[in-house]
Structures are given as C-alpha cells and as structure tokens.
C-alpha cells in the first residue's frame, strides 16, 4: 500500500461542458453521463405483447449504436432524515389540525426507515471517449488532430488542446442525443448530467457519507478557482492578511481560501 494521498488516486482531472475528463494529454479519457428515468414496471412482469414491444425498442436502440457505452444501475440506501426535518419545520406554520397529521406522517416515515432498508435505484448511461478506442484504427493518432493551418506555425499547444476538447465534446453530445432519441422510442426519458450533476455523482460514489451531508454548490469553479485578491482601502496600508493567496501561503498547505 502506498502512502499517496487519496486525491492522487482519483483520476478525475476536470469537469467542463458536461464532460468529465480523466487523466491528461493524449492519454486522457472523457465521458458524458445520461440519467435514465424509466417506467416503474419490471420488464419480466408486464404482459407478453407489451414485453415484445419494449424489447423491440431496446433491440433497435442497441442495433443503432456504433460506439461503446456503459450502463450503470446504482442501488443506494435512501436517507429520509432531511425529509422528516423538512416536514417538522413546515408543521410549525400549519394550522393545529394539520400539525397533528404532519407529525404523524413524520413519525411514520421515521418508523419506516428504522424497520426497513429503503433503497433508491438510479440508472445511468455513460458514453466514454478515449483515443485508444476511437483512434485505434488510425496508424498515427497525432495526424488525426493535426489542424489544416498547423504548418503555418501560428497554432499553440493550447489552441490544439482546445480544438481537440471541442471536437470531443461535440462528438459526445451527438452520441448522447442519439441515445436519448433511441431510448425515448422505447418509452424511457433521459437527461444529461451537467457539471454539478457529474461532480455529485462522482462525489457520492467516492465518498458517499460526506456527499450525504454536504451538498455541492451550483458552480464548480467556486471550489477550484484561485482566490487571490486584495481589498484595497486608501485609508490604511495593505496587510498580508488582506490578500487571500498570501494568507494561505503563510498558513501553509491547509487551504487557499479564508
């Protein structure tokens, strides 16, 4: 067992434009995730005619695909403590006749969670992209990404990286749209996870206990953007504490934000 921190073991390097990126450089792998909301009926329990219709829809979905995908079914325990707390909080503002009903309902839900294991099922379709899979047939993968105006010498590595990311993002969007269209024919609704949705999914997979108690903010950049600024007041001189970045340097490696 190595002594490396847990962060080093997480290969996720960026989430941008609803695409998660693993690793870096030409070896980087990308993926987009669709959440699938299906019917509550089990396929094995519906009647034969309906089953045939659904299976034909799924077969059409599979036959239409020309790329790799991954189907993930997550079965997680449901934490209803937040729901009970919300019902109790709301009950304070209700009329006395409704208060008793609300408290009774909260007690019922609490009892249910104690007596039974409540599980929530979520289904996702993951559409990955990696150079090894997509460009495997091309002899020199570097050629695939060479821009027509590269020979002029005006293109930097950053430009090429941005172009590459854009092309991958567009390809993943097309694939997600194709999957969404095909699954909707089989009666399933899909919704693509945005940046925060992806971060929440990975957070709940890597650290479920923390994810349950800590909700992510709407903007991921709030967490990772550098906060280096000075609140300049003409009346007095600027101290090191006024500059967040400097303060964090003085405090050491604990954090950069005050």
């Amino acid at each position: 067992m190595s002594n490396a921190s847990a962060q080093v073991r997480v290969d996720l390097t960026a989430i941008k434009d609803s695409v998660a990126c693993f690793g870096s450089g030409r070896q980087a792998e990308y993926c987009a995730v669709l959440e699938v909301a299906g019917s509550q009926q089990s396929l094995a329990k519906v009647d034969e005619a309906k089953q045939e219709e659904l299976l034909a829809g799924y077969a059409q979905f599979l036959n239409s695909l020309t790329f790799v995908f991954q189907l993930v079914v997550q079965v997680h325990p449901v934490d209803l403590a937040w729901y009970v707390a919300r019902v109790e909080e709301r009950s304070r503002f209700l009329s006395p006749s409704l208060v008793a009903i609300a408290r009774d309902h909260a007690a019922f839900v609490q009892g249910l969670t104690r007596q039974r294991t409540l599980l929530e099922r979520r289904t996702y379709v993951v559409v990955p992209w990696s150079a090894a899979t997509e460009l495997g047939s091309v002899r020199n993968p570097a050629l695939r990404w060479r821009l027509p105006w590269r020979s002029s010498g005006r293109v930097t590595i950053d430009d090429e990286h941005a172009f590459r990311l854009e092309a991958i993002s567009r390809q993943l969007t097309d694939r997600c749209d194709a999957i969404g269209r095909q699954l909707s024919r089989a009666g399933l609704r899909t919704a693509r996870l945005d940046d925060v949705g992806l971060a929440q999914l990975y957070h709940s997979s890597w650290a479920p206990e923390i994810a349950r108690s800590q909700r992510l903010r709407r903007e991921l950049t709030d967490y990772t953007a550098l906060v280096v600024g000075a609140s300049i007041r003409p009346s007095r001189s600027i101290r090191a504490e006024d500059i967040d970045g400097v303060a964090s340097l003085e405090r050491g490696p604990a954090g950069s934000r005050t």
């Binding site: 002594n3 921190s5 962060q7 991954q70 993930v72 294991t117 971060a199 967490y223």
Partner: protein, 198 residues
C-alpha cells in the same frame, strides 16, 4: 478491462495537469517549482480535493473508502440464453446497496462474419473427420455449428449485431463481515452465471 467508472483509480504513472498534484506540491509533468511556488501549489484546490474520500485503501480482496468497504465482482461465465429481465432479481429483489455496471462494445459485423466463417470451417472439418472415422457425432459441436451458422446468416442479412459485453458488480457495506455476507448472497442468487471476486 475497464473498471466501473465509479471506482476507477489513477493508472500507475498517469499524469494529470491538475489532480496529480504530488505530495510535495509539484504537478507531475510540470517544470520544477520554486519553494514558494510549491507552497502555493499545495494550497490550491483541485476537483480531486472536492470529491476524493479522506482515505482510500486497496486490499487483496476489497477496497476501503473512508469507513466503507467495497468489493468488485466480475461475471466471467454467462448462461447460453437469457430471458427478458434476467438481472432484475439482482437489482430489485436483493435488498443490498450495489452498483451494476454493464460495458457494451459493438463489434464490426464484417469481422464477425469472417471470424465465424473460420469457426464454421473448423467445426465442419472436425465433423467430417469423425464421419470418415465412423465415430458418433459430438452433440456439443453440432449445436455450436448450428448456432454459428445461424448467427452468420443473421449478421450477413443485418438482422442482428454482435456486442462484446462485460458485467461488473460493486458491493458496498459498512463492515467487512457485512461485505462478506452480501458477497455470499449475490453469489447464491446469481443463478446460471459464474462470477469471481476482483
């Protein structure tokens, strides 16, 4: 084979521009930083800082993330045919927190037709040798020949396609003993499949 995306770990020697911040504050593949730069890099936050657990430990037959125990099982043998909803008992009837991950890779029909042609030629020649030697037909080979021939016809007509499929199961439990119990329950309930603990 790829692991379920939820628990994929950084590859050995993989470099990333942001999350691979090393213990000494440097980034893998980046130029050597000055002492101040190194301190500053340690203070910055990355996406990995946000989602990573406090601790991750890889053991021989399980993984530990924070206080939770995880185990991945790989299905290595499948039944010859499956009915609609064959995985439903696992997802719906066993009350266990788990994650099922099915990787599907479409294969080129042209390549498959060529590969099946070769397979049919092998099986057919084996059958003819047996016939010449006046040996009794092998029923397993006859079924395989029939299946391969039918599949080749369907592929050629475009009625069917072939996929490479791999199935993984991730079990989670708060204690090691609970994880072992969950593993035994899954192994007992997974009728007709061979699975191994990864």
């Amino acid at each position: 084979m790829p692991l379920p995306f939820q628990i994929r770990l950084a590859r050995k020697g993989a470099t990333s521009h942001n999350a691979s911040r090393l213990e000494d504050g440097t980034h893998a593949g980046s130029p050597v930083l000055s002492p101040d730069g190194r301190l500053f890099a340690l203070g910055t936050r990355t996406l990995a800082d946000l989602i990573a657990p406090a601790g991750a430990e890889i053991r021989r037959d399980h993984l530990q993330l924070d206080a939770q125990y995880l185990r991945v099982m790989v299905v290595t043998g499948y039944p010859r045919t499956v009915a609609a909803g064959w995985l439903a008992p696992l997802v719906e009837e066993i009350d266990l927190p788990l994650e099922l991950s099915l990787h599907v890779r479409p294969l080129s029909s042209g390549d498959m037709v060529r590969a099946l042609g070769l397979q049919i030629a092998k099986l057919e020649s084996s059958r003819r040798v047996d016939l010449l030697a006046q040996r009794i037909n092998d029923p397993e080979r006859d079924i395989a020949l029939e299946d391969a021939d039918r599949l080749r016809g369907s592929l050629q007509r475009g009625d069917e396609r072939v996929f490479s499929v791999s199935l993984y199961l991730l079990l989670r439990a708060p204690k090691r003993r609970a994880l072992d119990d969950a593993t035994r329950r899954v192994e007992a309930n997974w009728m007709g499949c061979w699975c191994i603990r990864a």
